[in-house]
Symmetry: C2
Subunit: 231 residues, 2 copies
């Protein structure tokens, strides 16, 4: 079975939802038969690269709130993160364009290190004093995740590298009806939106597992069977 | 959209079915949004490694036919291959255990060279005078496909390397109800068995494309939206 998770590194509910999904997955009997794939989604695709803003100010501006109201919003998110055992700093965190991180996550996917880089990037952004909007931090995180430094630098320097892969993920999210993240898709049959409780993920996994029957298309055709046939 | 193809290198209808699928895919409007993944299936998993037999003799023994009848069966397959523009030699080809090839195809998948190795292995087995049951040929094919020779040799030398990945594919095939190959699965919703005409694949792709709507699981939950929300 396969679960695709559309998310953005700048999205706190993706960070929290990932932990809840993992808890739900751990409670699922067939967890060893589940493949998890990260898909790209940008919350702020039109923000220029390098144009960062402190999160509290961004929230206040975006939603017309005071800084104190923004701080309360962040405190609510933080308490949810803490309940999942996740670190979360509500002050001093920046918001920005995440296109380069998604490009690196696609490189990491090809190298079998996507899950490692994803966890490091979330932790850097939400729990540590490291800005994922600085190229130097991105290189350090990617190397920590096990990628080759020269290759990482080459991808960051070439803005077209893995750009199509990011755009393809985003197009697919739109086609599947997602306009927010995290967005979980199970075997392309079931969709789960948002940072749901772990039990909802377990239930969705069980439902998808039951629903694995295929609808046949086409009639009889030549094939090689294990027992008999002509091959 | 995603198409998984279970097949075996030793399966002539997989070789032919792949060409027909590719023709069907080329006629599908959304072909650029289709990801194709090879999955492992062994026609003769209990045959010992290194125990090879000439195909005609194997067919005669397996089905209790004369060598001439086996030759006629192979001629039928060959004419189907030729109709697809594929080379096919009916004499001098061996049958054997394909576990090592499948292990290498999983290594190739991780390195982004699976499609290249698959095509080379099929061609070697069916159209050329090269035995895919000889380790030396496997190394040569893998290097031709763009893999690193030392890494390929290390995988062949370690019988546990990618063995779980092959077994997982085979378990999934059984769970999905496949007992023969080629077996095509579209978005884990639609199944196509055997070397169907190209038009059947185009039709299945169109049907799967129409049926991409997701069934939602779970109620409202915190999420980050592109327009509005609290992130």
């Amino acid at each position: 079975m396969r679960v695709e998770i559309w998310s953005d590194i700048a999205c706190p509910w993706c960070y929290i939802g990932k932990a809840r999904f993992e808890k739900g997955l751990a409670a699922f009997a067939h967890r060893d038969d589940v493949e998890v794939v990260h898909r790209s989604f940008e919350l702020d695709p039109n923000r220029a690269k390098g144009d960062t803003a402190p999160v509290l100010e961004m929230l206040a501006t975006k939603y017309g709130r005071t800084l104190d109201e923004a701080r309360a919003m962040e405190a609510h998110v933080a308490s949810n993160a803490h309940s999942e055992g996740l670190g979360y700093r509500t002050e001093g965190r920046d918001h920005g364009n995440t296109f380069d991180i998604h490009r690196l996550l696609h490189l990491a996917k090809e190298r079998g290190r996507q899950s490692e880089l994803l966890d490091l990037a979330y932790r850097a952004n939400f729990a540590e004093e490291r800005s994922v909007f600085e190229p130097g931090t991105l290189v350090a995180l990617a190397v920590e995740a096990g990628l080759d430094e020269a290759e990482v630098r080459a991808v960051l320097a070439d803005e077209s590298a893995y750009a199509d892969a990011v755009r393809a993920d985003e197009r697919e999210a739109a086609e599947l009806g997602a306009n927010g993240v995290p967005f979980f898709v199970l075997d392309r049959k079931y969709g789960v939106s948002g940072g749901q409780p772990a039990e909802v993920f377990t239930q969705a996994l069980e439902q998808a597992w039951q629903g694995r029957t295929l609808q046949p298309v086409g009639g009889d055709a030549d094939a090689c069977d294990v027992d008999g046939g002509t091959c």
